[in-house]
Subunit: 343 residues, 4 copies
């Protein structure tokens, strides 16, 4: 349930409601707002508890909340969340974010060169994997900590904040020391010990939708992070598994406006994994912007043919420039007036 | 294989190639082009046949074509096909088409009222089902021939050409007498006797993708129509079945640029069935335009709450006007300079 | 709703209930049973109608039926339906049925040879397609009416009844003249004009589940046939489309006991299409029997390598014999005491 | 590639081959067999390396291995692996294993009571989750270490070995100290840091297939464990996500014989998660045995209505007894002569 307090409710009244809820064995989560406080509760809520709370002083209303996700829900938190990655704000009312970079950090040179191209094209942040989840144990699994150092150097060089994936709870500290935003990959969307771990630190989290996950499951995974105290979660649609064989995944464009309706969290689109074909990345990126995405995350590589991972879906620098010259036109057409400004 | 004739090849040389191919038990299909003629062949092509043909006078080149679809393929027909529905051209280089109307023709008044609203909003054609495929035999299955008469009256009233579905080979003649374009619904995408039947008449065919069909299967179904001699086929992405439960279908936005790459046929988007939720129709329609669709097909109803079918996914007239005021902006942003002009 | 009449209800009382229901604009379907009559109604049932009928003489009870399928439902018809194909009964309490034969009728010799092998192995009926649905218009589409003649000859030769597919409403009469059972293929599960057509004739119908159809959709398609008056419908699980690439389809073994629970209709298993690999046919056939299937439909071919269609999933005669020597053991183990008797 | 040594090859010759392979920058993995040794290599194998090795003394043959999984492949290891869980052998040639128990360890009493019932019914091992992965952070997540203690007590009481899930690399040591077999759940099938961690300890691993994973992906995840040195991996088919809404998952019965063909590892079936409905568990369990599974893992609970997790798919003790009285009949029918012996 959601207990909405009156605007004039006192601190003492709020505390009394919190205590009363606890007596019923239910965990209350105070949600202070600009105008008034609400108190969410999780787990099974008894009818008796709702009635007991409704009669307390300072309580305006008790709303049964049926969605299984709470802190991620617009019903509970109505204001759009803006997440800061470095100095850039991502979310509703913010300029469209463009996070770009190589799939994997392969070498210092390629990474720095790509970071410069991303900045020159007007990108918001640099992406790149130091720890790579791979279907086969015999594939390149990333440069690890050395990759993190290269990313830090690329940030020092270009000023772009860094988004990079973390695979294991035991790596969270090391990655969080360097990264400006921690990515949870699609395969780990329901790795709950990892979600707990990133929820207990303070760097923002970019949570990618699992390959066959429903929207509700994505929001419940976000809820894991939110419930641990980290409210800076960015969601990312990256394509779902379907029967189609021409493409690697099927970008679920419905997910963009649906998520914007259900949650206050920012929503990014990943047309690189969402299609798996470089020649589909630009049209699908534009589609995502037209559908209301708060930003894009795309793979670029100076020489996609030579990439150690995902070359067939990476844009060249030239492709990225071309894409980012059209993106603002589409963003404006659908009413997102801020633009990507190329330097 | 595809036999490409020299520019200067004579009629006799072309005929000789056709005859020679037949001797191998293979069916040749002459494909006259602006500059030169090509001759496609279907079925298994023996190496011997290819070699025999290659040496004939007037032959420039023999190209093995590996795609299972041929007449639908850009490799075989490089020029974009423009299909005329009434006087409107649909396809590359044409203004974005907007086909709108009620899911089912329910009554004369609702249909005429909707047709007027579609014309006023700048629509290209009127859609509406007289024969309705329904999962349950106990659901409303359409008004049948009476529905066709109402559609004809709506056309007379507004000048909008008519797109309507045909369910059975035995209804093709009756529907083709009235309709300007015959729709093959998703459930019938692999109803081969129906595909044969619409391939043998001359009205254009709007072929919707099956709920779980791959792109290749869609193109092979188009091939059925094309192979019977009807070259006026419009493809339509209308959402695929996925695990998502918030939406009815998942609009496959990847399919738009992928189809434009693989085939010369026009590609429409149906965001009404592609989402199943009226509040997702506009953002997904804009996404489809941004991704390069040649047009939209959307459900509108004067009073969606009272629709006998699909009310939850129909736009009101006001929604349609609002959508069609933004569509041209997005179309322009992605380089389709022609616009939907509202009267 | 379902109106259950008292055991002693008179003909006049039943008729009065039927008339009263019609006054509410609802279509009544009398369902005479061994002990008493029930009357089903379809479409929206008003509360007022239910109450009006409940008070009529002879009415025992009015049961609201919530399942969208009615005549297919065990809630409406509790007794297991046994369908006769030739002289063989298929369904609960009957010997396990084994319908076997080539995918397509390719020639007289192969068909007769296969029919003899099927009879020798203890098969119940011969299957074979004269009209073949093919994804590509350039594939072999069957021998048509000539194929039907060959099937009739095979029956005359072996005494095995014939199961063959019909693709178009206009072919129903011709196929029904020869076949003992009409098959509706997976691609046509929602071809409603075809379902109507087979529902209006009297030969039994073997209805295959669509590749991505749910169990409810399968039962609703059966309902189309049943509602037209043909109560001899056999359902067939033949594998669903999944993400797996080693197999052609994924046999849904859950569907067997689930269907047996939901419906009184017989349920067959097609492990040939359900796997698409000959080496998986036997274990999956045995699994289907263990799960409670009323029979099997399998593809056999004297020389699978030379089959014009589906050779990679056909059993040889030797494989069929080996399979049918184990099938009765498994059937007995799960309590189906009747056995396939080899001649 | 796979380098097969001659039977009489000496230790020195084997070492020389290993060294030569390393010179090409390729990682060799010696695979000692009963009769002869083979040496597998992973990653890209150059033609030059293959030729260089082929000419070395003691080499019988160099086989290119194309499957992306190696140590899991029958092509590399032809002998069936038998995994010991406690004193019970699981795999080909062993009695059918039956692992049963509650979904979650909820209390000492329920767990001990269930363990006794499992032993009485002839079960092989006790399952029960101390750490539970849950879609929602607000669901019961298990008793943790206290749950492990209860499981240890149940083992002391009944002699049944313990199978329990591990969710996080940091819990592997604690779980491995108590459990006889570590379960990796479906959501963690591609949690590579967890796979690495269980690969580095010695207790056997029961690896469940991910909800939308292909068979190849399952085998590649097994490969992660095998490649770290733990060769005691049991695979488990537990149902895949499909469009069906009557059931929770769709048990993929094809996977059983397909896995038995592709890999030497034991294959279990989980009909509880594979159906999600208690009334489908028994027929699907029997189907899995008929298809060749090496064992079953089923949920039982003294009072499924009161289970904190998954009650709707748990068998009662009576159901378990009934199922285990039929299982040996089916196993015998398909040639697995060993039987489950009820005490």
């Amino acid at each position: 349930m959601l207990v909405v307090m009156k605007r004039e409710a006192t601190r003492e009244q709020i505390d009394a409601v919190v205590e009363r809820i606890k007596e019923f064995g239910i965990e209350p989560v105070p949600l202070p707002g600009a105008e008034r406080t609400a108190i969410g509760t999780f787990g099974t809520t008894s009818r008796a508890a709702a009635e007991a709370v409704e009669s307390l002083p300072g309580v305006a209303e008790v709303v049964p909340v049926s969605r299984p996700f709470k802190l991620a829900s617009r019903e509970v938190i109505a204001t759009d969340t803006v997440v800061r990655v470095g100095s850039a704000g991502i979310g509703a009312g913010q300029p469209l974010a463009v996070i770009a970079g190589p799939c994997a950090v392969e070498s210092r040179d390629v990474t720095i060169e790509t970071a410069r191209a991303v900045r020159a094209a007007g990108g918001t942040a640099l992406r790149g994997g130091a720890f790579k989840p791979r279907t086969s144990p015999y594939s390149f699994r990333g440069m690890g900590e050395q990759g993190l150092e290269i990313l830090a150097e690329a940030r020092a060089e270009t000023g772009l904040p860094i988004v990079t994936e973390v695979l294991s709870p035991s790596d969270v500290d090391a990655v969080a020391r360097v990264a400006d935003c921690l990515q949870i990959g699609a395969r780990n969307m329901q790795n709950y010990s990892l979600l707990d771990a990133v929820g207990e630190q303070t760097k923002p989290v970019l949570l990618k939708r699992g390959m066959s996950a429903t929207i509700e499951e994505l929001l419940l995974s976000a809820e894991y992070v939110l419930a641990r105290g980290n409210r800076n979660v960015i969601l990312c649609e990256r394509g779902i598994r379907t029967f189609e064989r021409y493409t690697r995944n099927t970008f679920d464009v419905n997910a963009i406006p649906l998520l914007k309706r259900l949650t206050h969290l920012p929503v990014l689109a990943d047309p690189s994994h969402g299609t798996g074909k470089w020649y589909l990345v630009a049209p699908v990126a534009l589609a995502a912007v037209a559908a209301g995405a708060d930003g894009l995350i795309v793979e670029v590589h100076p020489s996609p043919d030579h990439a150690l991972s995902d070359g067939f879906q990476s844009l060249t620098f030239e492709h990225l420039r071309a894409l980012l010259s059209v993106v603002p036109e589409v963003a404006r057409a659908v009413g997102r007036y801020d633009r990507v400004t190329a330097s």
